[in-house]
Symmetry: C2
Subunit: 870 residues, 2 copies
């Protein structure tokens, strides 16, 4: 554990090097020129010229014999880190020591020894260490990484850095150019107010860092233009504190101010997110999360617009809709059978007129089209994200990044058990809001079934988790994380979606018919949907979830609970620390790391992703029954982005920058949801909505070819003499001699030889429903595949850019080649790289960016000879 915690910093640090590796060399110089207030202003070592790159913290409570060494800036570093496997030998040794230690009663001496050994290891790898001079409860160990170590590691890890070489993107001409510039201008309104580092059409060539080729790398450029120069120095200090800005780190602070003003701010919610800045400050993993959230929110806009249009279409056509007219028509006088035994009375169908009309708003012809549209939308969204991710990978220089480092998990089993328990507890916790949605009329069956599902799944989950714990512990960290996420998702989604599934597909399906109801536990009838149909219940449920739950989650869980937690922590710290060293502490002015240590630790991105992915599930899985879902999701997300942003900028410790190429398992989960959504929507349209029975009636049974008579057709006849003894209405407002009541089903009438059997209509409607499922599913799948195939994974503009960069890189290498050859053939010439490159740079003009080798050679050699002659 100890060892893992501590090796972590290195990768993170190096990762940050990926951003501005060239600046680091000058970090010291910068300090020497402008020494900060006090001993480095809390930002450098006591000598004032070495920057603090990372801080380790441990608790030293001798009385309670508790020694913990943990990384201050992050709550769960180990689970997200990748350690180069070449350390494993040492890791194993230390771990053995550690485990031996854990086997004994934890003794202070052992702890100290382990720490000393660990720190010696760091020093032997070239790091420099500074300890606190005072002995306090919480002790900080500060690390400085010299340039030599950084450059070595950067080279070994093949980190890509910008070179001096730049090139211009081609400007489009003609009509495309006009449209393009118009679009750029429109877009300008939504851009965050972050100064762009340079002309947006200028691109910088990058290549893996190599100390031999340092002359190719730009140094001045980044230092001059980037708002985050010196970022490495403020890795740890994430609190947004506008008052404390000093001249030393004004650049870094300016970046944070910008993030606060242009991003973590409700006023900026109509703007794009400043992705590059986010990535610079938080690293790729968090950057990708926000980029993904942005893409998702952006694509919700067209879906919302169409959803609203479908709803409006329903509103406008409700008065011309024959079935709902018929249901509201009192002259038709359908006397319906009672809805429960003895207590309930017969009732008039026209009494549920309003429900029928409301139901139509969500269940009309347009809904079917919208459901197909949303299947395509999901495919487009996934493809679009792939493209965006690809572009980000390129502009963030992640393309060359090595794939996940494979390393043995060094977690003790109890961590896994703890995690599993936490997840189990979290998923056991019933969603009260979701439960509240189930209509007042429902019996307890829903709750029981829901609970049963959750319980059964918990059992299965427990078994699987235990099995995995046994089998998979020795595997890689990333696999483990993925498995945990996957399982957590399955459980949480079960909890979230099960009630909706129950109402949409099961409620009332097995309730039987008048005179032959199905009873559970002898006395309880299976619950039925309200007479308006199950669809309207699904709608209400979804509406409440999308609006209510999200608001509660946003307000209670994401704002209130962290505040409470912080209060508790502060209280506890005060109580713990007040006893022995209060005096010393109060004397000293709090350093940066003290302030920072007070913030909430970073808990990982999983909860954020989980929330959004479940929302995505609601938006896609049941869109056929609730076309307004995308609108509500959009409204929520516009707030969500800024809320998350504010949390990350001001509420929690600055997370360690973790490098990531993709959003990982979440993409697979989204893709799985999208595939599953096709099936659920097919079933919702077929079985929950009235679309298929209406179609079948119109084209198979209606004598006029219109919908007139549909309501009558869907109602079966029941002879009141066939009530089982004691189930007939006890007291009734209707005629006591009433012989026939109606109920909603396709069954043969009492006077048929097969009375109350499922009628031929039932079977034909069922066949039509099933045929529609097959048709819809295959159509949607085919179209999705077509969309995925038609949208190339790499945008054309990026493709061209890559091609260009490759050619330029080849050019650069050929120039070097020519240089070598020329030097050999004209050994008398001086080799002044800069002059030569400059001269060649002018030579390779914009029009022919790819000069031939011989051209280069000829001109280059000529220029050399000329130089020599002068």
């Amino acid at each position: 554990m100890l060892f893992v915690d501590a090796v972590v910093w290195k990768m993170h640090l190096l990762y940050v090097c990926a951003i501005d590796v060239t600046e680091l060399k000058n970090a010291c110089v910068c300090f020497q020129e402008e020494p900060g207030p006090g001993p480095g202003g809390g930002l450098c070592f006591a000598d004032g010229c070495r920057r603090v790159d990372y801080v380790l913290v441990y608790h030293s409570k001798r009385r309670q014999s508790q020694h913990r060494l943990s990384v201050v800036s992050n709550g769960n570093v180990p689970s997200q880190s990748h350690t180069p496997s070449r350390r494993s030998t040492k890791g194993d040794i230390l771990e053995a020591v550690l485990e031996a230690g854990l086997a004994m009663e934890p003794a202070n001496e052992l702890q100290d020894k382990i720490r000393e050994e660990f720190e010696r290891g760091l020093q032997e790898e070239g790091l420099e260490i500074e300890h606190d001079k005072e002995m306090r409860t919480v002790r900080f160990t500060r690390l400085h990484v010299p340039w030599s170590v950084l450059s070595r590691e950067a080279e070994l890890l093949k980190i890509r850095v910008p070179t001096k070489k730049t090139y211009q993107l081609k400007e489009k001409t003609g009509l495309m150019g006009v449209i393009n510039s118009f679009w750029t201008k429109i877009n300008q309104l939504f851009q965050p107010g972050v100064p762009e580092p340079q002309d947006p059409r200028t691109r910088v060539l990058s290549q893996p860092f190599s100390r031999d080729k340092l002359h190719l790398v730009i140094k001045e450029h980044l230092q001059k233009a980037s708002p985050c120069v010196g970022l490495i120095g403020c890795l740890l200090f994430c609190r947004f504190d506008i008052k404390s800005k000093n001249s030393l780190f004004s650049n870094a602070i300016r970046g944070r101010i910008m993030l606060h003003e242009e991003w973590a701010n409700y006023g900026a919610c109509y703007k794009y997110q400043p992705m590059d800045l986010i990535r610079k400050y938080f690293g790729e993993k968090i950057g990708l999360y926000f980029a993904w959230l942005g893409v998702y929110t952006q694509l919700l806009i067209p879906a919302s617009a169409l959803g609203v249009a479908v709803f409006l279409y329903g509103c406008l056509t409700v008065d011309t809709n024959v079935p709902s007219q018929e249901m509201c028509d009192e002259r038709l006088n359908f006397t319906m059978c009672p809805l429960c035994d003895r207590v309930c009375d017969y009732w008039q169908l026209s009494s549920i007129c309003s429900t029928a009309r409301t139901s139509y708003l969500f269940d009309n012809h347009a809904t079917v089209g919208f459901a197909i549209f949303m299947s395509l939308w999901a495919a487009v969204f996934l493809e679009h994200w792939k493209r965006r991710q690809r572009c980000l990978q390129h502009s963030w220089d992640l393309t060359g990044m090595e794939d996940d480092e494979v390393r043995k998990s060094t977690f003790p089993h109890n961590v896994i058990l703890y995690r599993i328990i936490v997840f189990a507890v979290m998923s056991m916790n019933p969603d009260h809001e979701a439960k509240a949605n189930v209509r007042v009329t429902v019996t307890t069956t829903a709750v029981i079934i829901n609970l049963l599902v959750v319980l059964v799944l918990d059992e299965i989950y427990g078994a699987i988790a235990a099995w995995i714990t046994e089998l998979e512990i020795p595997k890689t960290e990333s696999t483990f994380e993925e498995h945990v996420i996957l399982k957590a998702f399955l459980l949480k989604s079960m909890n979230a979606f099960a009630p909706v599934f129950y109402v949409a597909f099961f409620k009332g399906r097995f309730a039987g018919r008048p005179g032959d109801y199905v009873y559970v536990f002898k006395d309880f009838r299976m619950e039925e949907c309200s007479p308006g149909g199950c669809l309207i219940e699904v709608c209400i449920q979804l509406g409440i979830i999308m609006l209510g739950k999200q608001l509660i989650q946003n307000n209670v869980f994401e704002i209130a609970i962290p505040k409470l937690k912080k209060m508790y922590r502060t209280y506890k710290e005060e109580k713990d620390g007040s006893a022995d060293e209060e005096d010393k502490d109060s004397k000293r002015e709090p350093q940066r790391w003290d302030l920072d240590y007070d913030l909430e630790p970073y808990e990982g991105l999983s909860p954020e992703y989980m929330e959004m992915v479940i929302q995505y599930g609601f938006v896609t899985l049941f869109v056929a029954s609730f076309p307004l879902a995308p609108v509500f999701a959009l409204l929520n997300n516009v707030i969500e982005i800024r809320l998350d942003a504010a949390k990350f900028v001001t509420e929690i410790r600055r997370p360690d920058a973790v490098s990531a190429k993709e959003i990982g398992i979440w993409y697979n989960i989204l893709s799985g949801i999208s595939k599953f959504a096709v099936i659920t929507n097919a079933f919702v349209i077929s079985f929950t909505s009235e679309f298929i029975p209406r179609m079948v009636y119109q084209y198979l049974y209606s004598e006029t070819g219109t919908m007139h008579g549909y309501t009558n057709h869907t109602l079966a006849y029941f002879n009141t003499r066939n009530f089982k003894p004691g189930t007939a209405p006890h007291d009734t407002d209707f005629d006591r001699q009433l012989r026939i009541c109606r109920y909603k089903d396709y069954r043969d009438p009492p006077w048929s030889p097969e009375a109350y059997q499922l009628s031929k209509q039932y079977w034909s409607v069922l066949a039509a429903r099933l045929a529609f499922v097959i048709f819809f599913q295959n159509l949607a799948m085919f179209l999705s595949m077509l969309v995925a195939w038609l949208i190339p994974d790499v945008p054309r503009s990026l493709k061209e850019q890559l091609k260009r960069e490759k050619a330029l890189m080849m050019d650069l290498l050929l120039t070097e080649e020519a240089d070598k050859q020329c030097t050999q053939s004209h050994p008398l010439t001086t080799t002044n790289n800069d002059v030569v490159i400059k001269c060649l740079g002018e030579g390779s003009s914009e029009d022919s960016p790819v000069p031939m080798l011989r051209e280069i050679r000829r001109r280059y050699c000529n220029s050399k000879i000329n130089m020599n002659m002068h």
Copy 2:
């Protein structure tokens, strides 16, 4: 064109360098040591010390003013080549010249100028050229590529080469080790008799070629052990000519002999293919084809075994099967309605007893399970191939290969048109064998429908192709090839599968019922399947296709036609060339390139892939109706591999080695077929086989819960009075007063109020069929996805190997690092790399392959100091 043809060689040559780049340096030396017979034995320049690396050939027929420069070794090089984009500037210029030339009447002077300019270009890039001394009709221009050029290009293209560093794979211990060694021994029987270059458990580390790091590269190793040393020199000379082996190229020839004996030989058909040798001789693209074919054939073995088992199960249980017993039972005495108007008589159901029994062999419970198995099989096959491909990529050092070079297609439009026409003609060409399969009883409808489909598709295809020609010409070459393949596949598969689809899903479905038949063109009744059902017809069709067509294709198309072509070519050449220069030609002893030029040009892999992919379609799409398909496919493929091998080794010119990472679009086509197969199998089981009606009868209608009475249940009643006038049997052996005959359908009887309407049974069976389709499709899709998810794309052993290699590479780099640091700190020590590396190599023992930096540094410096002292 000219330019493209010619630049191509470079890439290919370089590609070959990827295999033994280090040998090339010594090629000259080798020659000088053993100068061949005559002027280099036809294998080197006149000076006898420069090897011929490539030969260009052009026709010089002044009288007919025909000048063509083409690459001799290959028929369609340009379409498969990738030219580095950096040449494009020059390419454009030359092309402009060329086009200007083509616009005018082709004049000899212009042609010569273009050629001269082109050759000058080659020389300026560092190549050396030798022309024929004599002036002949067919002239050869020989090229030599010096080491300096090769190494430069190898470095620029980052070609991976083996280093001196080797490592041992871990030997498994315990039970796994025993199983493993047992397995290895068993497998040894099937290994081709090709000497392995070294201990199979020893792996060589590879890294991108760099002239600075030449000391890391092994030179001796390959030269000593590889059977293909000097391969580069015989790039062109592909004829297998055992008699002409001379000492000079004995190594290269030994490789070819080995391929001929151990691979292109029916006697070797139970052995694995010598993949590395194939790849060395033909390049990755062809290597991947044979590897794919091998994996496919191998995986057909379990499928065949299970298919035979299903068939045998049918054979064993046919006597206990109630429905076929009932059909054969003459006592049941079902009098069936006549099968055609007037001419046909009533008939007894028991007369088709044998067909019913045969049908059962292919249509029993086991078939359903087998269909699900085959869906999984397809998923496993695709996953397995991905893994194999990944392993090949690693062992062939393709991992670092840059993705497709994107370049503008420089084809003139007429080539595309020609291709399209060829494809159109090929697809218009009806498959006579397939046609012949349709049973004798069929009317011409099948042919007409088939033809219509093909014609309509040809129209669509023509339109799409024209549209693409307009839109997509300026895109990349690979995209273009993919599009052409995709379209050709769609057309060919239409042609191949349409008749089967027709019989399986459409034939007899819309034929109507007795008394109300559907007529086309007034007089022709829609054809029906034979009374035994459509399934048996599908079986017969598939059987004939799988056996007959493949045999004909193998024998006629792949053996006879090339022979005829060659005869024609020889005849034409003789006729053309006999006139003017016969004397000169006959004087000279034919050189290697003359002999080689006589062979057939290489036509690309598309036809080979196409044949196999269509076979894959037959195996997967209709496996539910014909479980024996995999067996026939397996038998065919065992022959096919050796046939293709013989063709490649002895019949055609040695193809240019084309580098490829994957099988490209073919994988997508296979994946598409597999997905589609799930749907077709679901429909075959539901609608073509009797599985669902039997199930429905047994569980819904049978009073005894058994199948007894099933035959009666499936036959509807027809009152002979309801025959339309003139359609009743004219002459009958049955009772003239027969009132009721039976027919196979679910319709209400004549005495029901809804006489002859589709009965409730019809709708319930239809619903069951559709429900089964949904169930089967989703189950198979889910299981396939599960399989794809459970089988990791990268085999664990490879993953471990990669990890190991990475660690070793890191180790190597760190050693160099340490070397540098040590040299700085001990500037007096000599730097003898070899000694140091060797010493360190011993140090980093097998147990701890990843020593820490400081360990290395310490021991290394010590050793240096020691060395210094001695």
